[in-house]
Symmetry: C2
Subunit: 571 residues, 2 copies
Amino acid sequence: MRTSQYLLSTQKETPADAEIVSHQLMLRAGLVRKLASGLYTWLPTGLRVLNKVSEIVRDEMNKAGAIEMLMPVVQPADLWQESGRWEEYGPELLRIKDRHNRDFVLGPTHEEVITALVKNEISSYKQLPINLYQVQTKFRDEVRPRFGIMRSREFTMKDAYSFHIDNDSLEKTYQDMFQAYCNIFERLGLEYRPVIADSGSIGGAVSHEFHVLAESGEDAIAFSDSSDYAANTEMAEALAPAGEKPTGTQTMSEVATPNVGTIEQVCAHFDVTAEQTVKTLIVLAQQQDDQPQGLVALVLRGDHQLNTIKAEKLAEVHAPLTLASDDAVKQMLGCDIGSLGPVGLTIPVIVDRSAAHLADFICGANKTGYHLQGVNWQNDVGEIQQADIREVQAGDPSPDGQGKLEIKRGIEVGHIFQLGDKYSSAMGCGVLNEQGKHQILTMGCYGIGVSRIVAAAIEQNHDKYGIIWPDAIAPFKLALIPMNMHKSHRIQEVAETLYEKLTAAGIDVLFDDRKERPGVMFNDMELVGIPHTLVIGERNLDENKVEYKSRRSGEKQLLDIDNVIRFITQL
Amino acid sequence: MRTSQYLLSTQKETPADAEIVSHQLMLRAGLVRKLASGLYTWLPTGLRVLNKVSEIVRDEMNKAGAIEMLMPVVQPADLWQESGRWEEYGPELLRIKDRHNRDFVLGPTHEEVITALVKNEISSYKQLPINLYQVQTKFRDEVRPRFGIMRSREFTMKDAYSFHIDNDSLEKTYQDMFQAYCNIFERLGLEYRPVIADSGSIGGAVSHEFHVLAESGEDAIAFSDSSDYAANTEMAEALAPAGEKPTGTQTMSEVATPNVGTIEQVCAHFDVTAEQTVKTLIVLAQQQDDQPQGLVALVLRGDHQLNTIKAEKLAEVHAPLTLASDDAVKQMLGCDIGSLGPVGLTIPVIVDRSAAHLADFICGANKTGYHLQGVNWQNDVGEIQQADIREVQAGDPSPDGQGKLEIKRGIEVGHIFQLGDKYSSAMGCGVLNEQGKHQILTMGCYGIGVSRIVAAAIEQNHDKYGIIWPDAIAPFKLALIPMNMHKSHRIQEVAETLYEKLTAAGIDVLFDDRKERPGVMFNDMELVGIPHTLVIGERNLDENKVEYKSRRSGEKQLLDIDNVIRFITQL
C-alpha cells in the first residue's frame, strides 16, 4: 500500500476528550473516528488490525472444532420474553419498534437466538456436542460510553455457544475453549492471564475471564507468585493467615478515647499497627417478611478492605450492599460509628477470617469516646460467625496453598462460562437422549471482545511516540521510508524496486511515497506503530545499504540491499 | 470438514411460506433460518458462501484502488437531518431512540456518515480522488419482507463512496468501478448484465445496475441482439420505427361503433391489427398555481404499453402518474373513455413517437359510441408534441442504432451511481483546490448486495435436485461420500486417507462420515449443491478406483485412486 493512495489520517494533537492512552492513540494514529457517543468508524488502518485479530480468533476457534455462523443484529423481543431477560436486562438492552410497532432489540448477546435455533435444528444426542460461534456486531446502550473502543456501544464480538447432553461433555468443551483462548492470546502476542471469575457453590470454577495485563486496566487481578492461580480480586478467596491462631494473654479493658474514630487514630492512640485492630461496619440486613429493617455488623482487620461482592452473597446481608446511616447506627446501637466494635452487639456479627484470627486486639466499645483493648473472641464475644468478606492484598497467601499473591491490573477481553440450563430450560431446548427421552441441554458460552482487544493491545504496547504493535496484529508489517524521494531519482528507483519485491514476497508493506519531510514520515510510522521500518537514504545507498529499525527495541541495523527481502521475511 | 462435526441441517420438505426457488433451497439446503420477518440467521453452509462472495468483492475492490473501512450500523439522526433525508426517507428508514431519548437510525446506507468523515479527514485536492468501501450489515424496514434473503430487512452490502475534485476524476473512477463490477461477476461465475439504469439530462449515462439473469427476476431488461446495449425496460429508450414516416392516403371519417371500447374490440370491428390504432389515456396534469386541476392526454399505439416512469418525467404530467377517473373524463371531455381520441381535444396532447409515426390510423371520436378511421396527424390533429412514453418491446430497434432489442429478466445485485454533489453540498464537504479555494466535492457511490447475490446465484443455478453452485462460491468444492463406511473397514480406511490428502492439498472438502444410507448422502450433497463429488464404493475399490461426478453436468467418471488429488486440484 502506498500512503499517497491510502487514508492515513494521523493527527499531531492529542484529542481533549480522550482520557486513556489507547483512545488517544487510536484517534491520533488514524485507527478510528467517533461518529457519536459510543459509536466509532474504523478507518482503514484500524480495520486492518481488527481483521487480523478476528482471523486469529476464527482460526483457533475452527481448530477447536467450533463452527462459524452469523446471527442478525436485530432480534425479536419475544425470544427475550421467553428467556425472562426482557424484564431482567436493564436499559443497556436497546429496545426498538419496527414500522409495524413490533418490539425488537439490538442484540447485546445472542443466547436467546442460538438457543431457539438449536432447539429447532438439533433433535438427537447423536448430533452433540456442538459449538457454534460468530464474529458479529453487538450493541450495548452504555449509560456513559467512554474510553473510545474500550467501552463503546457498538462493538465487534466473537461469541460462541456450546450445547451438551451432560456436564462431562460441557466440561470437556470448556477446557478446549480455555486452551483455544490461551492459543489466541499467545498468537496475538499479548501478555494475558486467565483468571477465575466466579466459583460455583458446587464443583469448582465455572467461569474464567481472560485479561490483557496493563497498568491502566480497570480490573485488579490477584496472582500466585508460585503457581497458575489467578483470580479477579473481587473473586479471589482471602484466607486467614497461615499457622495456628495465637492465644490471647490479655484481659479486656475499656479505655477513654475522645476524638478517636478512624483506624489511623486508633493506631496512633494505642501505638499499634492496624493489624492489631478491627473495624466494624454496619450494613442493612436482608429484609425478612413483615419485619422492620434490621442491621448486620461486618468485622474486618483494621488494615483490610471490605469486598462488597463477597458480602452481598451472604444470606444475612441485603443486596446491593448498603451501609447503615450514622443516624440509624446511633439510634439502634447507641454510639457513633467511630466507636463501634463486636463486643456486646445485639445484631448479627459476621467476622472476616483474618479478623477472627486475631488475639488481644483493639476495637470500639459501642460507647461513644471509648475503645476496648486486649479483646479476645472466645472470652469477650463468644461463638462468632466467620466468612470471607475482604479484598485480597498483595502478600496474602494464595488460595491454592502455593506461594503468595501479587496484584496486577488487567483489561477483560474474554470470558468463558458454564451456563448450565438457564436458557435451555427457559426455552425448552432439548433432544432425545440415548434412552429416547427428551432431555434439556446444558450450555457453555465463550466471548471475546474483538474490538476491545485492539484497544487493550495498545494499552499494553505503546511508548511516548505511539503504538508498538505485536507483529501478528500490526496493520502493516513493514514501513518503507524513502528520504526525499521526490528530489532524488536514485532513491525513487531503489524505493520502487524494493516495494515491488517486498510486495511480491507477500510482505504487508506501507510505502510512504508522500512528498513529506523525513521527520514527518518517521513520526507517522512510529505513531501508527508499524513493527519494522526500512529507511532509504543517499549516504547508505552509496554503500548499497538501507537502514532497518525495530519499532519495539529501537535497534538499528544497516542491511545490504540484496539481503533485505530475506531479512524482512525472517523477522 | 466432517458432516458428523458440522451443522448440515438439510430439510426434505419445501417450506410452505417460501415463494421463490432460492428461498426454498436456502432453507432446504441449510443455508439460512428465519429468525423473524425479514431477519435471517446464516447457518454455517450459508455463511461459507456469503464469505466467498465477500472475499471476491473485496479483492476486486482492492485491486481497483478502493480502501476498506467499517462504519457503524447505528447512525445519529443529526447527519440525516443535515442531508435532508431524515424528512425525505420513508418508513424503510428505521428510526430509534437510545436510553437518553436521542434519535438514531439503523443505517440502510452510509452516504451521510462517509460524507461527514471525508469532510473532516480530507482537506486538500492532493488527497483526491479517494474511494472508500465497507462490507457491512444494513437494515431497511421493508413494509413486506419476502423472498427470504432476496428482500430481507437486515442484509449484507458492499457500499463504496468516491470523492473527487471534478467530474473527469469521477468519470474515471466510475469506469474503474464498472470494470471492477464486471470482474466480480465474472469471478463469481454468474451470467450477468450491466444495465443502463437512468440517463442524465446532460452528458450520458450516470448510473448502471448490474443484474444476475434469471427467469424469476423482478426486473425486465432490454438488450440489443447486436451490441453491448442493455437497459432496464423502465429506462430503455423506445424509438420510432425505422424508416420514413408513411404518407397518409385516406380521408378521416366517423364510424358508429356501439359497444366498442377496448383496442381488441376496435381491431375486431375494423378488422385491423393493433398497430393501426391508437389509444388515448387521460392523466392528471401538473398543477399550476391557483388553477383548477387540469388533464393531459397521452397517446400510444394500440399495441404499446405506457411507461409510467417516462411519463412522470414530463413537465406537463402530475407525479406520481394518476389516471383521471371515468367521471372526470366524461365531465370535461364529454365521452366515455373507450371513445377517446386525439382529434379535437382541448387539453394538452402528448403523442408517443411510435404513435406519431402512424398514418391512416383509427382512434376514438371523443363522442361515445363513435370512432374515426383514416386519421392523419397533420391533416386531422395539426402540430403535435412527441415524447418517448412507452415501454420497449422485444423486436424494437435498439436505441444505440445496432440491432433489435430482446427482453430478459434479471435480479438487481449491484448499482453504481454518479451522485454529484447532493450530499457534499448539503453537508459542506469540500477541500482546498489547486487555486487554494474551498471547493465542494463531487461523489460516486457503488453498491453490491452481497447477501442478495447468494440468492440470485441460486435462482440462476439450480435444478429439481437442488442448488448447483459455481465453483468460486460453493460452500465446499468437493463432497467425499463413502458408501456404508461404518460396515466396511476398507472403505473407511480409503475414505480417511483420501480426506487427509485432499485437505492437505488445500481442497475444501466435506467428508460425509455420517451413519446414513448412501441415498441420503447423495441427496444431501446434491441439495447443498457441492460442485464435485467423489464416491467410494466396494466394487470400484476392487479395481482401485473411485467415482467422480460433476454436479452441473451430471457426468460420471472412474478415477484411479492415485490420480484423485491431481484430478480434483485441476478442476
